[in-house]
Symmetry: C3
Subunit: 411 residues, 3 copies
């Protein structure tokens, strides 16, 4: 990004309640600014503790050209490091996930401990200090089994998030789940369009036939406040909370994240084509099957569903201008046995369909926005309140980080 003043100038042209001006979705300077501000300054969801089952389990996560290793140490602490050797910069782990005893660079076998310390090199100069060449650490925080990383030098505070997540997600007992399936797809669209798409169900009826069997598209169920606009939603929340399941709509003061529990359509209990449970074992301490879904989002890169029989996490990562990866993970009770307690096809088919339908939609959105004929259009406050909320958060957050970035660039 050569010129922050240009980004400010672009920000000043945004219309409230409207989609963003074209450059926000197509311009390489904005894309670079997004990476250097929002993606480098905020907490990013990386995965879950069940993905790091034991000592040496690791996963990698991409933010633009930057890859980060998240790894579980011998002390069971989860740490994160830039996935780049301190010698000549080779990527260390090429895979999306794996299991290792040490982190070994494939180029010259510089060998790092799981805590990032450089343990071994060969033939370096006498004055070389291994202690100065450990892997560069990245902040990591575990929140009720969810793992977040932050590339900033001073990461934002997470106290309120931790306390809130503990209440809402604790009953789903994420640390005692296991990964049943994980998939990644690439969508040819700016990451913000992928997130906008998730933040409304205005498009669901016409595009998601299998999802709509169970997921209601009434925006007042999710919309904000106490979901007071929906009697069904209110009743569901009251019933769940009476059973000890925190469920009422709550949002961060910054509006970066939100929790709310919504009911499914009719008597449905899970994301299946018949609405029935997809896994025989209930997770955690959820008191009944028809608990609906506890929805959680955390900008810029995740949304999740916490059900009575499964948890689904969605993680997006910009891979390049107009290219976004979506990684979906299905988690079930750690003792649930495939083929006995659940059928993998049945567990995953609704959201496999839905993800592909969304991919097609956002790609067409991206193509249309590239046109000289594009002008920002109005969102529906009723149906797209969530999109407005995301866009507003994005604009504030981008703006707030521009100064940091200018300070860094001036160094």
């Amino acid at each position: 990004m050569s010129s922050n003043p240009d980004i400010r100038s672009l920000l000043s042209k945004c219309l409230p309640g409207h989609s963003l001006p074209q450059p926000f979705y197509v311009d390489s300077d904005v894309y670079e600014a997004d990476l250097k501000t929002v993606w480098s300054g905020e907490w990013i969801f990386a995965g879950t503790r069940p993905e790091l089952k034991k000592t040496g389990s690791y996963l990698t996560i991409q933010a633009g050209p930057t890859s980060v290793i998240v790894v579980r140490g011998a002390d069971d602490t989860i740490r994160a490091f830039y996935n780049t050797c301190r010698h000549r910069g080779s990527r260390i782990c090429a895979e999306a996930r794996g299991q290792t005893t040490k982190l070994v660079c494939p180029y010259h076998q510089w060998t790092y401990d799981l805590d990032g310390r450089l343990l071994w090199t060969r033939g370096m100069d006498p004055e070389f200090k291994a202690d100065d060449h450990g892997l560069r650490p990245v902040h990591v925080r575990e929140v009720s089994g969810l793992i977040f990383i932050c590339l900033a030098q001073q990461p934002p505070d997470t106290d309120l998030l931790e306390r809130t997540a503990s209440r809402y997600l604790g009953p789903h007992d994420l640390p005692n789940l296991k990964v049943a399936q994980q998939t990644s797809i690439v969508e040819n669209a700016d990451w913000k369009l992928v997130m906008e798409n998730n933040r409304e169900c205005y498009h669901c009826t016409s595009n998601h036939p299998s999802l709509c069997v169970t997921l209601p598209d009434d925006p007042f169920l999710w919309g904000g406040g106490t979901s007071a606009g929906s009697a069904i939603g209110r009743a569901h929340i009251d019933r769940c909370e009476a059973a000890g399941l925190p469920s009422a709509y709550t949002i961060a003061p910054s509006e970066q994240w939100r929790f709310v529990r919504i009911p499914f359509v009719g008597s449905a209990t899970s994301f299946t084509l018949d609405g029935k449970a997809s896994v025989a074992k209930r997770v955690g301490t959820v008191p009944f099957d028809d608990a609906g879904s506890c929805l959680f989002f955390h900008y810029p890169n995740t949304w999740m569903h916490f059900l009575s029989d499964q948890v689904m996490t969605f993680r997006i990562a910009p891979l390049g201008l107009g290219t976004t990866e979506l990684t979906t993970t299905w988690l079930v009770h750690k003792d649930a046995e495939e083929g006995v307690d659940y059928d993998l096809g049945r567990l995953t088919e609704v959201w496999t369909n839905t993800n592909d339908e969304d991919r097609r939609i956002v790609e067409e959105n991206q193509v249309g926005i590239r046109s000289a004929g594009y002008v920002p259009g109005p969102y529906s406050h009723d149906h797209e309140g969530g999109v407005i909320q995301f866009i507003d958060w994005y604009r504030r957050t981008l703006d707030s980080h521009l100064d940091d970035h200018m300070l860094h660039a001036a160094e």
Copy 2:
């Protein structure tokens, strides 16, 4: 395009009668300038009336990242719109052609009438005005069955074109033809190289064996004035005009378009490998089989052949820097029956070959121009007069629009 002064500076370095300096063919700033001036300020050929057979028939045309829908209304009027929803900007029609009753955005089903009015949305805010959110119109003009669009706010005048086309093309009765075949290929070359290639037959002998069976490569048949340099051409024009078929060379004062009728080699009547007719039914009121071809070009994006038994249109569209799409359409009498009156393979083989040969040629041209060793070279006035004429038109037209563009950019 960041800097029009740079484009002017480049223009000042062009040598008369020579190919353009390297940046005109390889530089992204020039490409963007082409899109914003020539392609946004001039009429662009989009298709023919037979491609829009009935109410709701539509086609889409690309100019760089901008897609335009051309659609036939219930009143049989042909209209054009930016192919971008006024809601969140999704592309509306993803296909190159189709048939519909309404224009429905795939994202949230905003529904537009064929005349562009927004007919239906769901759940928009009370203050939302549908009337303010119709599809953004693009100028459209029908010229003897040829459909042109223009992205400019004030499109250029077409009176002379309409009057002239009526005389030259009227006898071929385009509205009563039908599409026999339409193909698209992508050429990895700047759009100007594709057009330059079409504007000379200096390369034909060595590259187009099947085309040269019927198409003469004598440049004096096409060259200009009264084709006085060619006795055969003069005789053909005289014979055709005596039979009521306007044929003499005529060119716009701006030199943007031209008509001239040329004879085929020997007794050939159509583009076939034996020179015989490819369709049993003659088109329109053409008085005899051996009428040769009435050649029409219209910059920046089309050339056409009007024969006694078929009409061929060629349309180019820049898809990106160094990438151009060529769409070829073969039209025959609407009552001609495939397999009875014509064989599709025989109808299309000569130009299918020729297009592919030209693709290879212009791609090698593009590759060679990218070299540090490229210097603009001299065109032959005899054989490449048409190229000189195109390049001169391009330079004048680019220059004339730079000011418009600067005014717009300053808004």
Copy 3:
């Protein structure tokens, strides 16, 4: 490259003995600067005389977007020309190598003699002067059967190189070898990473199992001076020189090129999986089989192995930002017969494996360097002295040409 001052500023940030700052490996301005300075100002290895067996034999070589034809004339002189027609700029030779009688442009058949003179055109204007439109020459120099080209107007002096090469390479008699195999692979990495990789064997043990059968990885064999750090190396040099085979380490004052002869592991004589000779006929006047390899590098684009039974040349060419082509040529005695004197698979398998292993390594290096987490790391003086030497040469050479380039840009 818009701004040489930026390149100078980047150069000033390089740390001695460390890998280069990120922009040198990933920035398009640096890539363009590399092409316009190092690659346009220095001699580039193009091929060997055996690749141009007779009159009209040619090869093409790429440096970024610029292709050069190297061709053997009727007078057996080898000449080089920009592979771009002086007419409209088409590439003339699309193939990597071939045999022709004249250089004929595929577009309009402008025909050039093998010495570059324009021999024939058709229908050009009366004032057109063929003498002014010969192919643009590129400097070419043959050095003991190695062919170098230079795009600069005033190429650097080659006297010392010629004298030295004559002594070291003469015994291998390159002009009397023949090409047994030539392969090209593309590596997704900056050309400097490909060269860095070649300049050390620190990575060999873990990555090149088949190469390590015969090639020792002791850096003191190659390191510099008299290879005094290695008794084995010293003994090998003494033995070879006593037999009349120049072998001692020698490097250009500019450090652009170097010769040294090293022994193989144990009694190995060639790059094979059992260490035995791969070709039954010894090349030139090499006095014994176990002469090891005479190593030659010449920046920016080649390294070679001269053995007793074969010669291998490696040539790299930048194809684009982060994309490099590696061409490997195996040469054997001209009278060696495939299937009798050598088996092609056995001859080529070790370096086919090794090249692919190196491709994987440098691609991971490139990926890791793109990260925001990359910081230049320290090279081992013992094991990576050759890399330091290359990087230092690169920085000096880039710097020395920036002024030339600014002068040219100001023209």
